[in-house]
Amino acid sequence: MHADPAGVLTGVHFLDGDHACCEGCLAAGARFAAGYPITPSTEVVERFASRIPTVGGIFVQMEDELAASMTLQGAVWAGAKAFTVTSGPGFSLMMENIGYAAMTETPCVFVDVQRGGPGTGLPTLPAQADMMQCRWGSHGDYAVIALCPNSPQECFDLTVRAFNLAEKYRVPVMVMMDEVVGHMTEKVLIPPAEEIEIQPRRHTRKVPGEFNLYAPTGDLVPEMVHAGEGYNFHVTSLTHDERGYPSTTPQVQHSLVNRLTDKIYRNLDDIVTFDSHGCEDAEVVVVSYGITSRVAQRAIDLAVQSGRRVGRFRIVTAWPFPEKQIRELAGRVRALVVPELNLGQMVREVERCAGGRCRVVSVPHAGGAVHAPEDILNAIEEALQ
């Protein structure tokens, strides 16, 4: 299925990441957003509020993030593609309802334009410190997908992909931007609608009476129905059986919670994307994501200019983590250098996958600015000692 042209602003534009993300939502078919203002993410819904009445859809500004994160899910069960946008403190408030989306398998997108934390932190300045929160922030065991754009172009591209993955796997998908990517302005190419692939909702063809809301299909993802179609279905985030009815047996819990995770982790080859360069004969590979990958590229270029064999591995799908790829790299390089705008979050995943087969050098930064390329270059040099 191709994108609905009504939402696609085909052409070459000069956009910041927040606005490009909004265009990605529209191109992907999102016609509903619920939001609550928070810096540095608000521009996404400001643009949506301006654009959506002429495209055909709804923006509603809710009273808080607790409401926004649940209102969008109601819209999804009424048939819409929907999303919300937030930053640190708002993302924290949304965590319970992200768990609801995971448990009820509500396809939806949460955009987090990361800023410095904890607490109110640095509202106008960047960080990448919600990377573990987006994976583990709601209670219980579940899986999500998280994507990390590093440019306004990718804010568009990966937002479209976020909606497609949400529909395909029926999970909440996180677009993990940061303040710099959100506010930097660059060229953004928006293709014609017929060149944008859209994953439609996996709506059942079964008739009421033959349909069980949570009966998994071959790829473990159940089919969906919407309110008002005559199915008389029940949705609960209590542990539920295939009919959607609450159950308290360990067997139902086992089967449900494993399926919620397996439907993601058995499809890694379809979901996981990354961007690597110069890794074939590298002694050191810099593993980074988001805005940090662009600073890292400067450090890599400087190292290569001085004769070092240094490669780039850019994480695009943070969750599920590119385990296979990092494991493979760890088996043939001397070191992996991991700069990130936090005190060391994704580096833990890198260490876990490396399993001691190479050095892993963390290059932490508390946020508020991006790294200086020299900090990363020094870490590369240190790793080569």
């Binding site: 009504a6 649940m70 209102t71 048939g79 709506h203 008389n232």
Partner: protein, 297 residues
């Protein structure tokens, strides 16, 4: 054919087609009033001839939060306090849906209190049924914002001392177009009020005073469920149109019941459409149902 008690059984119970009988027995305690309200709700559906296919029920968490799961309708059991936001999304994305929020006093007025007042302010076309048992039931009888003064609860073992909400007054002030209160003793009036709200456009709020014999009546020496009904019968006074600031509830004394507010003001979606049409003219794309799929329907 006879039922278990030896009484002659009816050929069929008219409310059963609206219940998920495969989920019975329900979890509610003997003497609890929630089941009575569900019976009234289904009677209201039958009497008003509501379009069942487009009727959607949304509950939050708690004893009343379980109502959605027992109704054979499209039904959603949401997170604690968030039934109204979820219902907001349903209604805005598909205005054909008649969306009922059916939840308890703790869910709607404490953890969800912010959403309650804002939905009333916006005049969203939602029908809220608030079963008020004056306490948190599911978690063991803790103090709620609706618990009157001088009541023993599990978290106020020496008695409550702070003021409780007067819910009709709160909803009146926030802008609801329909506000009524009944008790579970008033089954006919309650069913009528529910039917009225179902066909009224805008934000409707029905408070149903209901006993929690296990955790409220017992701790406060007020007997069982039957005693509660007798009490409601004795102290309830019908005061249609009463100024809502005068209908607060205490541990003792009168319970004012009746329809307090019934007014007309444009609802959120009407206002939104009219405003955007005026602002954008021909550029406004009026989309009713935001359905993004190749659905068989």
């Amino acid at each position: 054919m006879t039922a278990a008690g030896g009484l002659p059984a009816l050929e069929s119970n008219p409310v059963e087609p609206f219940l998920r009988m495969d989920r019975m027995p329900h979890i509610w305690c003997p003497g609890c009033g929630i089941g009575t309200t569900v019976n009234c709700f289904i009677r209201a559906l039958l009497d008003s001839g509501a379009d069942r296919q487009n009727l959607t029920v949304v509950s939050g968490i708690g004893c009343t939060g379980r109502v959605a799961g027992y109704l054979r309708l499209d039904s959603f059991h949401t997170t604690h306090g968030r039934a109204i936001p979820f219902a907001t999304g349903l209604k805005l994305a598909n205005p054909k849906l008649n969306v009922v929020v059916y939840s308890g006093d703790g869910d709607l007025t404490a953890i969800g209190g912010n959403h309650l007042i804002h939905a009333a302010r916006r005049n969203l076309d939602l029908k809220v049924i608030c079963v008020n048992n004056l306490i948190y039931g599911m978690t063991g009888g803790q103090t709620a914002p609706t618990t009157p003064r001088d009541v023993i609860t599990s978290t106020a073992p020496y008695g409550t001392f702070d003021a409780n909400f007067n819910l009709p007054h709160l909803m009146d002030a926030a802008g609801a177009v329909y506000v009524a209160r009944w008790t579970v003793y008033h089954v006919k009036q309650l069913a009528r009020a529910m039917a009225e709200a179902l066909s009224k456009k805008g934000f409707s709020f029905i408070e149903v005073i209901s006993p929690c014999p296990t955790l409220y009546q017992r701790r406060n020496g007020q007997g069982d469920g039957l005693n509660a009904l007798q009490h409601y019968k004795q102290v309830s006074v019908v005061r249609h149109g009463a100024p809502t600031q005068e209908v607060g509830i205490g541990r003792h004394g009168e319970i004012a019941v009746g329809k307090f507010v019934d007014r007309v003001r444009p609802d959120y979606q009407e206002l939104r459409r009219a405003h955007l049409q005026e602002s954008l003219g021909g550029r406004y794309a009026d989309t009713l149902h935001l359905e993004e799929c190749e659905c068989p329907s």
